[in-house]
Symmetry: C2
Subunit: 336 residues, 2 copies
DNA sequence: AACCTCCATTGAACCGTTTCAATCATGATT
DNA sequence: AATCATGATTGAAACGGTTCAATGGAGGTT
């Protein structure tokens, strides 16, 4: 028994193939009576349109590609979840790839996605200090629909939706200063990368506006923006630096910082205030609930998808970095 | 300027479209000289095969669908990551959907995936007590390639790759008994669901084999297999039940259990031993590192993908539940 | 020189939709 | 009764690959 095609339906319903097709697409040109008749046959035969033929005809796969650095940091899992829900509402599918923060891997994934015919791409840029962006640049020059999420590549401030982390960082730092903390530091990755430079910028601005001297030594460059990274950073700098306020670049790292401080017998927040960024769901349920800057995940995903679909629809979307407001979430890991 | 098609390449190379196609597919029937010539033109024109036409011709999208309950529990994020890597090695893409533990949503996602023409499905069953499985049953009867991962639906013990959680549970319980714990309980979801019944089974067997009486009150049925769920369960049963050993059904819940116990001033593991399941990456980096049963995520994903591709290739894969060995990971949350 | 083999290449059928100009049917208008 | 307008339906082209039977050509054998 062969596959049931639109022809079989047409034959059995006594209409042309075109009529069946238009019925399935709910075209207003087909009379209700005919539609009803055709749909009955469709039902009876259990007919289902061939997705390959359909994509071929339409030149669209109604699917988009999503690239994230990975799911070790649950923040990205939460983004993936929100993104999937948003894309699904538009009756599209989401394919995903994991870059492991390597721009090279990212390029490979993009290539794969293009070979699969995705209609557009949503990319969380890899935190890669020396990214090779030739491929992305080529796609941008061809105006292939592509939106950067949560950050962007410094050279390419196009079509981006992210959180206003600079403001979040600023506000958080101000609150640390107001709480009377004197020796505040930030533990971050390379300032060459947007996710870090934004946070550093806000951090610095807080001192400037309060009129406090800013010393570069407040900025601790570390690598490994993970629990282990935070743990190791404390080992390396705490005894010498003796901070009473620590901003870690994300919640996972902040948790590592707290873990190491506690194991050294330091009290939080009495001795040291700690805060992170992202507000991942475990941040609030730690033994010491974490003060953090909450990224508006849902709104960001919705805005990114909106932007992407506008581009796919051929609208002329101006290249812009859209920064959504954040919320500073005070919890027990910092003094007020 | 129109799209560059295989015809353009053929014309410029002075060969037929068939030759170009076979060259691109690296057919041994084409001479090396011709291939080289054709590839040069391909390069020059920047030609790229149309993925839609290709899928259409081949009746394959080289993509598979993956359904997970969500990423709130990072365990699923880790599975997704491993799965993606495995699928990518096979030059296929992974689409994903999130069921939120609703079989209804799962069915909807499956439908969507079928409409997109995925070659197969990998499903982490929803923890839904009254699932409507008609659609899945239909697909199974059509022998559509489909593999269940980490668990299966009780009525449908087909094509499954999971961890041997019963053994893990057994071993863990034995170690609790050996450590001299007297009042051991397990906090679990509905025993109607495989992920829970497996763990309960192993738990029970440990008592049986040691010759200890087993009392049903050792099994605490709870809902919400999350941090909050664990927290709430302790609130509800601890004072009355006074356990000295607690198995939580997964690591997130175990963390909730620990969180609540500590806030009550109970010492872990001195007063109470706690263990979880999954060995998610944060389990080891908690303030009190968690004793847990590690699921072999990578091997499970590899086995599942292998199975699925065999099915897609038309091989006759016997329906079977494959259980991979687990490893009990002892850490500080339990006495030895 | 005629015949045979073998390998490389060709060319056309095929896949299952969508789309749209052309046709047909119906009822209204003169 | 002839003409027109409107709306429903048809039929065939188009999409861009893959595949394979048929063809062509070069080299070897008799």
């Amino acid at each position: 028994m062969g596959k049931i095609t639109i022809k079989d339906v047409a034959a059995m319903a006594g209409v042309s193939v075109g009529t069946v097709s238009m019925t399935l697409n709910n075209s207003p040109k087909i009379s209700e009576a005919t539609k009803k008749n055709v749909m009955e046959i469709v039902e009876k035969l259990g007919y289902r349109r061939d997705p390959y033929a359909r994509s071929f005809s339409l030149s669209s796969s109604r699917s988009i590609g999503f690239i994230a650095p990975g799911f070790v940091n649950p923040f990205f899992g939460e983004v993936a979840e929100a993104l999937q829900a948003t894309v699904e509402e538009k009756n599209n599918s989401l394919m995903f790839g994991i870059s492991n923060d390597s721009a090279k891997q990212e390029a490979k994934l993009i290539d794969q996605f293009l070979d699969r015919g995705v209609d557009g791409l949503i990319i969380i840029p890899a935190e890669d200090v020396h990214p090779d962006l030739t491929q992305i640049k080529r796609l941008l020059s061809e105006s292939f629909p592509m939106v950067f999420l949560t950050s962007y590549y410094k050279e390419l401030p196009y079509h981006t939706v992210m959180a206003d982390l600079a403001s979040g960082s600023y506000e958080l730092t101000r609150s640390f200063i107001s709480a009377g903390l004197k020796n505040i530091i930030i533990i971050t990755g390379s300032p060459d990368l947007i996710p870090f430079s934004e946070r550093i910028y806000g951090f610095r601005r807080a001192f400037d506006e309060v009129g406090l001297p800013f010393d570069e030594s407040r900025v601790i460059i570390s690598d490994g923006m993970s629990y282990e990274g935070g743990y190791a950073a404390i080992d390396r700098i705490f005894d010498e630096r003796k901070p009473d306020g620590i901003l870690a670049i994300n919640d996972m790292m902040a948790m590592g910082v707290i873990g190491r401080l506690k194991s050294k017998g330091i009290r939080i927040p009495e001795d040291v205030s700690v805060a992170g960024f992202d507000d991942i769901s475990i941040a609030s349920i730690q033994e010491t609930p974490l003060t953090t800057v909450a990224q508006p995940i849902r709104p960001m995903c919705m805005a990114a998808v909106e932007k992407l679909f506008d581009m796919i629809a051929g609208k002329d979307v101006p290249a812009a970095v859209e920064k959504l407001p954040v919320r500073v979430q005070h919890r027990n890991s910092s003094r007020m």
